[in-house]
């Protein structure tokens, strides 16, 4: 594994209020290093998605600071666009573009945003589809694929932008049980290749085998942050023990 000490994500004292006044993040700190795989766990409503989505400015925040790959998140739109080019995101509901073919889903952003020649992007897209094991579906529409296939397309779509960081928000929660494994395997392979990943998931096995660090969030704060072995066998905080007893 290629881990270096370069910091990819640095969040300090992040606080967020939703427009209705709900205090969703109450001072969250997190540092993610290059090549690191961080799994975020926590009960429903604890602010995991909200936190993850601040990294690529899908959610704003009111206090604290976040910098991604050396770029400080601010209201400056150029910064936001620059960060989004480097940060890929995979959603629980896949969010593939249903009116485009699988191949077009992959090539849309690189051609429009990175201004790369179409032929070159198509070649890379087909390579990526090969890597996630669905090259033969390139000319189908998303609606014609199974859930697991769709999520693998979504991962390939993110990779096609050649991001330096990948964010996953419960990527397997909307899948039938028999399709979970095929998606997790793709993610595991990415981790092995040294991709920096922040993954919100309830898959304990994935966290144990792949994560370098597991973070527990509760009520808008980070409760515990520890290597998986320690997190699952010897948690330091009462809240973590409670959470682990609930999910096992």
């Amino acid at each position: 594994m290629t881990r270096s000490d370069a910091v990819m994500i640095e969040a300090r004292g992040v606080e967020k209020w939703y427009p209705n006044g709900f205090h969703a993040l109450r001072g969250v700190d997190l540092t993610v290093e290059q090549g690191e795989v961080v799994v975020i766990m926590g009960p429903s409503g604890s602010g995991k998605s909200t936190f993850l989505r601040t990294f690529n400015a899908l959610e704003d925040f009111q206090k604290g600071s976040i910098s991604v790959d050396g770029i400080t998140l601010s209201d400056d739109l150029r910064h936001i666009d620059a960060i989004r080019r480097e940060v890929g995101m995979v959603f629980q509901q896949f969010n593939l573009f249903p009116h485009l073919t699988v191949l077009q889903n992959l090539t849309l952003a690189p051609v429009l945003v990175r201004k790369l020649p179409k032929a070159e992007v198509q070649r890379r897209a087909l390579d990526l589809l090969e890597r996630v094991g669905i090259a033969e579906q390139a000319h189908k529409y998303p609606g014609q694929l199974s859930g697991g296939q769709q999520q693998r397309v979504a991962i390939a779509r993110s990779l096609c932008m050649e991001p330096r960081i990948l964010l996953f928000d419960e990527p397997t929660s909307a899948l039938d049980p028999e399709m979970v494994q095929e998606v997790l395997e793709v993610m595991q392979a990415l981790a092995r290749d040294g991709m920096t990943m922040v993954v919100v998931t309830h898959e304990v096995r994935f966290a144990r085998q792949v994560a370098h660090r597991v973070v527990l969030m509760d009520a808008g704060v980070v409760v515990e942050s520890a290597p998986p072995e320690q997190f699952f066998t010897d948690p330091q905080h009462e809240r973590s023990r409670q959470f682990l007893s609930q999910i096992s």
Partner: protein, 415 residues
């Protein structure tokens, strides 16, 4: 009756009719009553159309109904335009058939098309004669119809051989033809000017309708986007506009427009009554189109925009490439519904003194020579409008199936 065997044979049309109309005694009575009523009305109408009605009011004024007081010596321009339109229609029709989106219906002449051709031929043969047009004019209509069918046949036959790179530019013939049509109708570029006050009848109605439809659509999309924008000024501006226009009857806006549009629009854009009315129609319909598009936008999950944005697409590109293509497809039926209303609303132009179809009809009926011929005139008007609206509806249905990405299995994408 013999007992029904468990192995069901597909019922013939007669059996099906029997099952659907005469399932029980009550059903049978209702069916007989309805059929009897329909037959009576149909016979009455046929008798009136064929025996009692006097169609000279139409045939003697057919040019007036078609183009109003468009100068006779300039009418060749309209013939040329009609010919070009027929050519473009035939080409587009044939190309659509030659390059179907799903491989399923790659037949050269599907059944629908054979019906359309039959109807066209019957119309071309019968209508000019029914109107007692002069022979040269009859011949012209036949030639134009023949040209349309020839273009349809040729494009259907060889369309697939056109290279994809050239094919992508084909739809451009329509906007080009529209601009050319504008020049042909109104003059300029060396042609004698024909003032808008001389346009009339079907020509004026179609011109107003197409102009407003073409412009109100992009305007409506922008308004719908504005209404969902995060910028308060833009949002409230759009809301205010949409609600104001939807709250006012079109006829008051038309009168208002005649009086104030001259101040609002930069000089030259709305110089005379016809163009002022066209702009009012456009602005009016835009508000309704905006509401149709808004419902389409609301139907697209927020995750689509989020996914596009998280891939680094700036907002305009995310809208153009991801959100709008889906939203407009959802909004298509409602939008075309608005277009159909717009077409019918053009009849209000007669109330502000323009000689559209209805306005022309009223001048004709005011002529003492045609006293009491109102029914004939209105029937023809109704049929004409019905034909235009039906064409719009059919076009929208065809477009809808063509734009549906997932319905057919084993789809081969167009590019």
């Amino acid at each position: 009756m013999a007992p029904v065997s468990p192995v069901m044979v597909r019922p013939g049309p007669w059996q099906r009719l029997r099952r659907e109309l005469f399932a029980s005694r009550v059903d049978g009575l209702i069916s007989i009553g309805l059929i009897g009523g329909l037959v009576a009305v149909g016979l009455g109408l046929a008798k009136w159309v064929l025996v009692q009605a006097q169609w000279t009011v139409i045939s003697a004024n057919s040019t007036l109904f078609a183009v109003g007081r468009y100068p006779l010596e300039q009418q060749w321009r309209l013939w040329l335009l009609t010919t070009l339109l027929a050519l473009a229609t035939g080409l587009s029709w044939g190309l659509l058939r030659a390059l179907p989106r799903s491989g399923a219906s790659a037949r050269a002449w599907p059944r629908n098309d054979r019906w359309a051709v039959a109807i066209l031929v019957v119309l071309a043969l019968w209508r000019p004669m029914a109107l007692q047009l002069a022979l040269p004019i009859q011949l012209r209509w036949w030639a134009i119809t023949g040209l349309l069918l020839l273009a349809r046949w040729a494009a259907g036959r060889w369309g697939a051989a056109i290279p994809a790179s050239a094919r992508r530019w084909m739809p451009l013939i329509w906007p080009l033809l529209y601009l050319l049509g504008m020049v042909l109708i109104s003059g300029g570029l060396g042609l004698v000017r024909v003032a808008p006050s001389d346009w009339g009848g079907l020509l004026l109605t179609l011109l107003m309708a197409t102009f407003s439809i073409l412009l109100c659509f992009p305007l409506g999309v922008l308004l719908a986007l504005g209404r969902r924008s995060n910028l308060p000024l833009l949002r409230w501006g759009s809301v205010l506009y949409i609600e104001f226009v939807r709250g006012a009857p079109l006829i008051t806006l038309l009168f208002l427009g005649q009086n104030i549009l001259g101040f609002l629009l930069p000089g030259g854009l709305a110089p005379d009554r016809v163009w002022r009315a066209a702009w009012v129609l456009t602005f009016f319909a835009a508000a309704y189109v905006a509401e149709a598009v808004r419902s389409g936008l609301a139907a697209i999950p927020a995750g689509q925009l989020e996914a596009a944005r998280s891939l680094g697409l700036p907002m305009p590109q995310a809208l153009i490439h991801v959100v709008l293509p889906q939203a407009l497809r959802v909004a298509l039926p409602a939008t075309v519904g608005q277009f159909i209303s717009l077409l019918q609303d053009t009849t209000l132009l007669s109330l502000i003194g323009l000689l559209d179809l209805l306005g022309t009809a009223r001048t004709v009926m005011a002529n003492p020579a045609y006293l009491g011929r109102n029914a004939e005139v209105y029937l023809v008007l109704a049929v004409l409008f019905w034909c235009c609206c039906a064409a719009l509806g059919l076009g929208s249905r065809a477009l809808e199936t063509r734009l549906n990405p997932t319905a057919p299995s084993n789809v081969t994408p167009s590019r």
